[in-house]
């Protein structure tokens, strides 16, 4: 009956969310627009991100065990509901393609200058397709190992770079106009924290639905704190150059030099991107595939995995023509473009459900 029979625990959900949020943000430094106040932009963004998480978890709590697609057709009826679902699925699909795009751009610039982007994209897409095929349970299980490794590597990098830090670089606090700070923190709330709205397609499979919200909060909070730490580290090491480099975390790792022996550890950052990007792409991919299967009442979502993946690769290759455009979109377009998906759809759906006095579902399910 159900398209997904797997169940994940709330702890696994938290870890998966951490991996998802790290996704592209391990290399694309969130809050970079705020210069050395990036950590503050992330802190404010984290607050707003928790608010976004509060909205979509409220919706998930109202309809326990239902994905957003099922919720939409319950709330709006079949036709309008499916229309809204398709919009949301587009967002997930586009999100996956954007992350794929970041991914291939970074790898082409820093690691594999001679390898065609298409090949890197196809390889990562095959891995993601395989994990989507095996369902959410498998993804959640491997997140535990890889996220732990990533956090350990971030701590390792940070310890090694301590001699190159100058905390004076963080002063004076609040050095940018307040408007710019607020805009940057909103951008940070949207990417990476708000993107967690994709978990509306996953929350249905948490074995104890009432613990879903606290699990989401925990995940967002831990990921946010790590990102704040990383932002402080990058600004302390790179100073003003933090705002200049496209991938400051990578450059920070390049600075590491322990006695001329332990150098060139920046590839660890690239490994972090490769593993964490995998989670972000997979969750978005999974949500899009599962959602589409539910909209069209398929018996299994598996037949559409590869077609969607191929389309995602094509979109990733074509939607942004260069890095300048990517950053322009990420800084100026994306924070507005995503508001309907991250805030409006969950909020309006929740309000309509309350107005129509739809009963809470799945309250007694264990």
């Amino acid at each position: 009956m159900s398209l997904e029979n797997g169940k994940i625990s709330s702890f696994q959900l938290s870890v998966l969310i951490i991996g998802f949020i790290f996704g592209a943000s391990v290399i694309i430094a969130p809050g970079q627009g705020a210069g050395h106040d990036a950590w503050m932009a992330i802190a404010l963004g984290l607050t707003e991100g928790l608010l976004i998480a509060w909205i979509f978890t409220a919706l998930a709590r109202h309809f326990k065990g239902k994905t957003l697609v099922e919720i939409n057709s319950l709330v709006y009826g079949k036709i309008l509901g499916n229309f809204i679902s398709v919009l949301f699925i587009w967002y997930l699909f586009h999100l996956g393609a954007l992350v794929l795009n970041n991914y291939s751009r970074f790898l082409e610039l820093e690691l594999y200058p001679a390898t065609p982007k298409t090949l890197t994209l196809i390889l990562i897409m095959l891995v993601c397709a395989s994990s989507v095929r095996r369902g959410i349970e498998v993804l959640a299980r491997c997140s535990l190992i890889l996220v732990t490794l990533t956090i350990l590597m971030a701590i390792f990098d940070t310890l090694l770079v301590v001699p190159h830090m100058d905390l004076h670089n963080l002063l004076p606090i609040l050095d940018i106009p307040i408007g710019k700070l607020l805009w940057t923190s909103h951008a940070t709330a949207i990417f990476p924290f708000g993107d967690a709205v994709a978990f509306l397609m996953v929350l249905a499979f948490v074995n104890k639905p009432e613990k879903g919200r606290s699990a989401v909060f925990k995940g967002v909070l831990i990921a946010g704190l790590v990102l704040i730490g990383v932002a402080v580290r990058n600004a302390a090491v790179l100073g003003q150059m933090n705002a200049i480099y496209t991938y400051p975390t990578y450059i920070t790792a390049q600075v590491i030099d322990v006695g001329d022996v332990l150098t060139r550890v920046e590839v660890l950052v690239a490994i972090n991107l490769i593993t964490m990007g995998f989670f972000k792409i997979s969750v978005a991919y999974y949500g899009a595939v599962l959602g589409l299967a539910q909209v069209f009442n398929l018996r299994s979502y598996r037949p559409i995995i590869l077609p969607i993946g191929i389309l995602m690769v094509i979109l990733a290759l074509t939607n942004v023509s260069n890095t300048a455009e990517m950053f322009d979109f990420a800084n100026n377009g994306y924070p507005i473009y995503t508001i309907p998906f991250q805030i409006a759809i969950p909020l309006i759906t929740l309000l309509v459900a309350k107005l129509r006095k739809l009963p809470q579902i799945g309250g007694d399910q264990a």
């Binding site: 610039l109 390889l123 002063l171 150059m241 200049i244 480099y245 450059i251 390049q254």
Partner: protein
């Protein structure tokens, strides 16, 4: 089930074809590993000349093996490195021209030094800095050096014990920074200072000296002999040995080294400094507080070593440090280049007033009142505690 197995088999055959690594690998003997990169600009035509010092790997091995017969190698000084220049209208133009006539691919991941010719530095090095930062093959911790003459001249000198000259010079610069003589400046530090609103970028300056070598031959050697001071991306002057030391005292970069005062020589154990800005009635006053501890290395007075004497030494030492710092301050104010980062410290402390001050910084800086406060302490006096000679 059969079909699935067949599919897996096909995948197993196809995937290795695509992911087997190193299809575009380049072997070591096809690479020209650049150890030092020089940048000269012709003042008249604006043509850029890049000088590449490349390592010849097979030769470095040979040189190490035959270190016993050093006399033989001396006839051919550039036995492990090869020097080549190419000229073009921009950095990448020169680079491309080099690649076209080179037999090997250039490889920058082990570059130790960027050497900027003096006249190029005086004309502005922004195009060079940009081309370095933009290209991911360049690393942020390569050292920046200004050459007193042309960059090519420095790179062509085989100096001292290292077979790869650029590595030798990088080691020399790091050692001179360890002995607190001249600053060691990486590309990243240079760029950070360049991006600051007021702070002047720095780089150690290398000159060429001639010494009497064996058999009466004059041997050329490289020597660090100053600190180049930039304003924006243009070099405007330099600090001499004493002023460079004074600069290091002020910016908290003193690690080891010696303080020589009349009659005694002291070895620095620890040193810390802090720049404290104060803003009073639109006037900036800077206090440089230095805290130093040292051991007595040599003493040629005849007085008995008493705590009174040590106090005298401490005072003398404090005077000497203050003199060095003030020399640097005066030179930097004469150049009107904020080498200490006073502007940044004011910015950190007086955020609100900063926009106004920043706009007038050019007029403010030469007249800033600088006070140096030195606290010194002599820890140890060595293995003897009395004078060797009586009065």
């Amino acid at each position: 089930m059969k079909g699935k197995q067949g599919f897996v088999l096909i995948l197993l055959i196809i995937i290795p074809v695509f992911i087997s690594g190193c299809w575009d690998s380049i072997e070591l003997n096809k690479l020209s590993i650049i150890s030092g990169l020089g940048w000269d600009v012709d003042a008249d035509t604006g043509q850029v000349t890049l000088t590449f010092q490349s390592i010849i790997p097979s030769e470095t091995k040979g040189a190490a093996g035959s270190s016993g017969d050093g006399g033989q190698k001396r006839g051919n000084p550039l036995h492990t490195i090869q020097l080549d220049s190419s000229t073009g209208s921009s950095a990448y133009d020169a680079l491309n021209r080099y690649s076209q006539h080179s037999s090997r691919r250039t490889f920058y991941q082990h570059t130790q030094l960027y050497i900027l010719g003096r006249s190029a530095a005086e004309q502005g090095i922004y195009p060079f800095l940009d081309s370095i930062a933009r290209n991911p093959i360049n690393r942020p911790n390569v050292l920046m050096v200004v050459s007193e003459k042309k960059a090519r001249d420095i790179l062509s000198i085989q100096d001292g014990m290292e077979s790869i000259q650029a590595m030798g010079m990088a080691a020399e610069i790091k050692l001179s920074a360890e002995y607190s003589q001249y600053p060691v400046v990486t590309y990243l530090e240079f760029a950070q200072r360049l991006l600051s609103e007021t702070t002047a970028p720095l780089a150690p300056m290398v000159g060429i000296i001639e010494q009497a070598g064996p058999e009466g031959v004059r041997v050329k050697k490289t020597r660090i002999n100053g600190t180049a001071v930039f304003k924006g991306d243009k070099m405007i002057g330099h600090l001499n040995e004493e002023e460079s030391r004074g600069l290091l005292w002020a910016i908290n970069k003193i690690k080891k080294g010696f303080v020589i005062i009349p009659g005694a020589n002291l070895e620095i154990v620890t040193a810390k400094s802090k720049i404290i800005p104060e803003l009073q009635d639109e006037k900036i006053k800077i206090t440089i507080a230095i805290d130093e501890e040292s051991n007595l290395l040599e003493y040629d007075g005849h007085r008995e070593i008493s705590s009174d004497l040590l106090q005298d030494l401490e005072k003398g030492q404090a005077r000497e440090i203050e003199r060095q710092v003030m020399a640097a301050v005066e030179k930097s104010q004469a150049l009107n280049a904020d080498v200490f980062g006073f502007g940044d410290t004011v910015h950190r402390k007086y955020k609100k007033e900063w926009p106004v001050l920043k706009a007038r910084w050019e007029d403010i800086y030469p007249y800033i009142e600088v006070v140096v406060k030195v606290k010194t302490h002599v820890n140890e006096i060595g293995e003897i505690n009395k004078a060797l000679m009586r009065d």
